[in-house]
Subunit: 275 residues, 2 copies
């Protein structure tokens, strides 16, 4: 692991690091905020999975999370959204290839050798983090934005018992029924794969989830038709999943929306983690 930068922030440490990833067969970069409390021993960890076109940097610089993480004494990790580099497949579209990993393990060419973000987030990056930083492996929660909100929901359901709580900002909710999803699932998983096994609304309908759930989406989200919030809302109500879903009046899809409600989400996770 290679520390690329470190900045003091809210009395703690904002770190950027890279490491060779066996899973993605390339170097991967991540941001990690350690609150002041980490100087005294391991702290809980919140995962923030970012959206389409993002790197490790977007939420780290624009989500206004560090101050709240310091207040509540929790770390936050900002992984990249896909493998990257010259030897890694890509597409000219903003929503396929590099920057658009969708948090699945691709089975189709040319993506299969590198695009294994599910295994990266659930298996490999945790080992890097817990081996190198003062983080409490038993106290993890997960959140994310847009494609990353979807990733937070699906990965929480795929790793039951791992995360104490899950939240999402403007999540893609039902990708197998959306243009934000069908194209990527076709490319990464193939037309005949079991897409429902990677779709938050479908997984929710079948498995549900037994940890606290908080969803925030803006009523004026410019991508509202692509998110399909209604499918997730229906699935959670039908399955009687304990949750809070809020549609926030006048907000759009941007990090201005994410930062506005970041305090609520950090407080929500802190309560689940410390409870």
């Amino acid at each position: 692991m290679n520390i690329i930068s470190e900045n003091r922030a809210f009395g703690g440490r904002q770190i950027v690091a890279s490491h060779p990833s066996r899973v993605c067969d390339c170097n991967m970069t991540f941001g990690l905020y350690l609150p002041p409390q980490a100087a005294d021993g391991p702290v809980p960890l919140i995962w923030f999975l970012a959206g389409l076109t993002c790197t490790h940097e977007n939420a780290m610089t624009k989500a206004a999370a560090q101050g709240w993480c310091a207040d509540y004494g929790v770390a936050m990790v900002f992984p990249d959204t896909s493998p990257r580099g010259e030897g890694v497949a890509d597409d000219e579209a903003y929503d396929l290839g590099q920057g658009a990993g969708f948090y699945v393990d691709a089975t189709e060419e040319p993506w299969a050798p590198n695009f294994r973000m599910q295994s990266y987030i659930l298996d490999e990056l945790p080992r890097v983090l817990f081996n190198n930083f003062p983080l409490e492996e038993e106290l993890q929660s997960i959140t994310g934005h847009s494609m990353g909100g979807h990733g937070a929901l699906t990965l929480a359901m795929k790793a039951p018992g791992r995360f104490s709580s899950v939240s999402a900002f403007s999540p893609i909710c039902n990708p197998s029924d959306s243009d934000w999803g069908r194209k990527q699932f076709t490319a990464y998983l193939g037309e005949n794969a079991d897409w429902e096994d990677h779709d938050a609304s479908c997984l929710m309908r079948v498995d549900g989830i037994d940890v606290p759930v908080l969803i925030d989406t803006g009523t004026d989200d410019q991508f509202g038709d692509l998110l399909k919030t209604e499918a997730l809302a229906k699935a959670m109500a039908e399955k009687r999943v304990a949750h809070t879903l809020r549609m926030q009046k006048g907000y759009d899809h941007s990090y201005f929306f994410v930062s506005t409600f970041m305090e609520d989400h950090v407080a929500f996770h802190a309560e689940a983690l410390w409870g």
Copy 2:
């Protein structure tokens, strides 16, 4: 109007009164809590519509609302759930006739002469209240439980501009598709009536609502299958209605649930009323 009783409560006045109702063609009884602030001038008013089998008395005695109303300086009215008395039609079932008015104006016999709860709540009782008590007519909000939660939602949509906010505890959400609804709509409105015009999920899908909405329902509600929360959840998300829907883990349909979250609902309405 006849004052039946008055009790000091949280520094204010818990009143029970009756009045001859022209709309329901019988005497109607209601409870009204006036907070201490009402001694100095008009205060905002929250309507609490009760559920099946209830009178004016259930929420008044079991919802633990008065203390929060005093804290926030708002009044709360507890209307009865139907016309009552010897000359009023009834049914042996708990969910039809007296105690089960469903907040609609019946058009069918034998219910039509008395069962006009929509007009009673929206037209007649307001005049009684605003003519007799220090209440601010421009500052009203509405909530309710179960059948009354449904009533709060439907009446808020039928009187746009009247209520500054609407909330509901364990509301019936989609009565035209539930055994809590089809039977009553058949009896009161007739098989061929436009049931969707009295169904919260259908109205939400078509009209939506442009004031803050808060819904709380227990994951362990013993009547969850009858409530059809998923229909309302889907409709609000699809219509991009600004709202908060919470499914509260482990709670059932009782007033123990209502009283647990009453503080949140009074605070929610107070914010909308004073905002």
